[in-house]
Symmetry: C2
Subunit: 121 residues, 2 copies
């Protein structure tokens, strides 16, 4: 993805930052600290390596995620949220997640939440 330089509205950027099937999930996976690529791949059910890397690259370009490489073999990198934009995006996503939880409860999908340990049974 080529990053645009002609945004005229902050919400356009917001859309580009979070669009796609996986970005919000990837960000949430990072909210408790840095994770390796394979850790993310393992933690996110159904994602392909291609999508994971592609979306991580975009999140880095927008300054929400950073990467640290450790030298030596086997290769090892860690992805983590940036102090400013990344952390604040989590704050916003937590509000949205609660909206999603409410929606699930209102629409009879409470059991799935209990299974995942998101709410108490």
């Amino acid at each position: 993805m080529k990053i645009r330089t002609d945004y005229t509205c902050p919400l356009e950027i917001v859309h580009d930052i979070i669009k796609g099937k996986w970005k919000t999930i990837i960000l949430f996976q990072l909210k408790n600290g840095s994770v390796s690529l394979s850790g993310l791949e393992h933690g996110i059910e159904g994602i392909s390596q291609k999508m994971l890397l592609e979306q991580l690259r975009e999140l880095q370009q927008f300054g929400l995620v950073e990467k640290k490489k450790y030298s030596g073999y086997p290769l090892h990198v860690e992805y983590y949220l940036s102090d400013d934009k990344g952390i604040r995006m989590i704050d916003a996503l937590k509000i949205m997640q609660q909206i999603g939880i409410d929606y699930m409860i209102e629409n009879g999908m409470e059991e799935e939440l209990k299974c995942k340990g998101i709410i108490r049974g």
Copy 2:
């Protein structure tokens, strides 16, 4: 759009709620009170009527937006944010908007913001 009933993760819902090019912008247009369809169409540059109606319908299905019809001619309806999910989504979007503003400032797009009156020049 057929609404799913098999969500297993609240963030999936979040994604469905905000996905698409226009949803965040539509929600923001409603943050100061109810607006008619034509008002929205006028206020959102570049949106087609088809997309506007389609996205409004989805936002209603997720419980973020509600609609009131006034009888009489010419036909008149007003769209507005729901007290619970709609308002809270705006809280989240405001945080995200600020991230977008920061991004624009950091990347030399400050002038556009001043033109729109989002920040002071």
